[in-house]
Subunit: 211 residues, 4 copies
Amino acid sequence: MSEIASIPSKRESTDDRRAAIARAARQLIVEKGVEGLRTRDIADRVGINVATLHYHVPTKEALIELVAESLKFEFMSQHVVRPRAHMDAMGRMDMEFVDFREMIEDRPDVMLVFSELIERARRDERIAVAIRPMLRKWRQILIDILSEGVRDGVYRADLDAEPAALMMMGAVVGFCRSGNKDFDGYERLVAELKRAIRNPNYQPQDTHSKD
Amino acid sequence: MSEIASIPSKRESTDDRRAAIARAARQLIVEKGVEGLRTRDIADRVGINVATLHYHVPTKEALIELVAESLKFEFMSQHVVRPRAHMDAMGRMDMEFVDFREMIEDRPDVMLVFSELIERARRDERIAVAIRPMLRKWRQILIDILSEGVRDGVYRADLDAEPAALMMMGAVVGFCRSGNKDFDGYERLVAELKRAIRNPNYQPQDTHSKD
Amino acid sequence: MSEIASIPSKRESTDDRRAAIARAARQLIVEKGVEGLRTRDIADRVGINVATLHYHVPTKEALIELVAESLKFEFMSQHVVRPRAHMDAMGRMDMEFVDFREMIEDRPDVMLVFSELIERARRDERIAVAIRPMLRKWRQILIDILSEGVRDGVYRADLDAEPAALMMMGAVVGFCRSGNKDFDGYERLVAELKRAIRNPNYQPQDTHSKD
Amino acid sequence: MSEIASIPSKRESTDDRRAAIARAARQLIVEKGVEGLRTRDIADRVGINVATLHYHVPTKEALIELVAESLKFEFMSQHVVRPRAHMDAMGRMDMEFVDFREMIEDRPDVMLVFSELIERARRDERIAVAIRPMLRKWRQILIDILSEGVRDGVYRADLDAEPAALMMMGAVVGFCRSGNKDFDGYERLVAELKRAIRNPNYQPQDTHSKD
DNA sequence: CATGAATGAGTATTCATTCAT
DNA sequence: AATGAATGAATACTCATTCAT
């Protein structure tokens, strides 16, 4: 289940090996970037021979696709775990920010690798194919929340959901890219984003909210 | 900078060569990324031998620094050209957006290369040294404008200038990174950013605004 | 042939497997040459795992020997099938040409693989050991026929059987090597070979001819 | 001009290097076959680094083409050196055999490499492109001599020049392929070939022969 | 008998960099 | 200042072979 460098664990199933390889590759991408990624290093970290690596993942291209897929899986499963249909727009947006913070705290490699792959996707169609759906889905979730929020009056009436979604994504991705580990900074950014979209005239009449 | 006006050709060509090399390198970074950058390709594009390239720029590291410097020069000179001290915050912010649009229209490589280098700066301190001042200066300019705007009442009173600046930078950089060439999209984004920070109660005709 | 009739499945399969492997190997040698021969490809074509292939044929060298043996078997059995002792030299030579034509028509791989192995035999003594007897036997058969034909006056009196045999072998092997599938060409070649050796003064109606 | 393994000879011109590489490659093909040819070995024998080898000959495919070309050059220049127009068919054919013997004695690699490439040409169109003209030219020369000889009555009237040419080529190539260094054998073969085509009724002293 | 996984020893090719001219 | 030639150190990928099950 978990081989961290030192544990040799001979003769694993391909699925387990591929998972371990994806994990090691992601770590290494964080450390050295996609350009600094070496099959040898990955094999070493997994504790297998390079040839064994190639047995499970035939080419480096396939390897990067594997990384992209592993990211996609992790990234997209997020919204499946906690059902949010019953919440209002603001609540769901809050959940987004909480989830995101959780991610950059617990699995900081996700966003860094994601950012690397975004850069690479511009020139590599195969990466683009794996990355674009993630961006698209994220954007759509935000657009949906924002649109609903505008309809319900919690967000500015003049809010244009599409660019607003891009703005939010750009803001948080930009934060992660900078390598900033300062979570206060993250909270200040989130607070500002919330103010940027909220309807200043909104009266939380029936629910009588706290703030 | 280093060439003495009276000596016309022999001595100054190094600087010319370096400029040409920087230009070619930037083009190639756009096409293939920093990771796909090859000294041979640069030399070919400049029309010189690889050995000659190394004569002018000794190592690849120095080359990337040269690129970063050339970017810095271009990026930072922007705000020097047009004096803006006399304008109000909103006007200056508008100028920012116009300048930025001009840049991505006229020299689309600037932002793409910039984005590449941001990614690289995370692992390469020498790049970081060249890149960080640019980000810092940009952020400071935005913070200044935003702070002034808040003071003058044109921007939201509850606007937190620092994260707001990051938000704006992230939004436009994110737009460029996506490789989007749709300038309508850019204008929609800019419009949304303006609404995101503006003071909804601001009376533009009135010079001394009220709450 | 080697499996004992009463034991039906378990024991005989190794021989069957080896035969199937030899067949697949020969096909692949025709397609890609000995140098392009891959154990994996053979295993795939036979429908077994590479490890299984190695169980039946331990090394690649053994594999090539197996191919050579299979060729030898096929090649040398030819002259056993039809008893020819009763025929005269010319008739037996005709049979040789007919047999050969049958072979390159029905099992075109035999000569192509043979030619590959001849080339390889020059450097690989183990292959030479398997190939040389075939060449030797073939040459001897031709020498015998030619010698008899000379004795009987059907072939030129000044014919030197040994080099003549080499000439004939070289001619037909050369034809096959070229990858030529034109059987008219083959017949023209054969006709020329026959004229090249025949005794121009031979009187066919006369059974006991003298010079 | 001549670097034989031990002489390092730094900084040669590309043409010289390519010639040396072709020479070394041919030696190695004789020793280990095309399939056993290793870029490293060639570089070692030339006395250069592998990377230097690739500088002069970019890929292995190009290397084999270079070998084929070098062969072509040597093989085809043969008939240019000594003008033979004034000779009669038999004389010219004799010259062919003498030339050929000279070749297998002085440059025994030529025919061995040639034979290797013939084998390879069946699957590699690029090699075929270099090899086929050689075969074609050789065949044409023989056909021309044979046709003239038939016309002049020195060769059999029923001789079919085309297959006869193939027969002769096959015979001598077959001789070389066998790795036979026995020149007596060669002479016996040649003698037999001559008898195989000659007109038994030809009167040499008589200039205007009769049927 | 069969197989999925593993591996050592290659193998061509790449690339930044250096050197002699 | 410029260049053709040269090179060391990598690098992804291959392949026959082995091992545990």
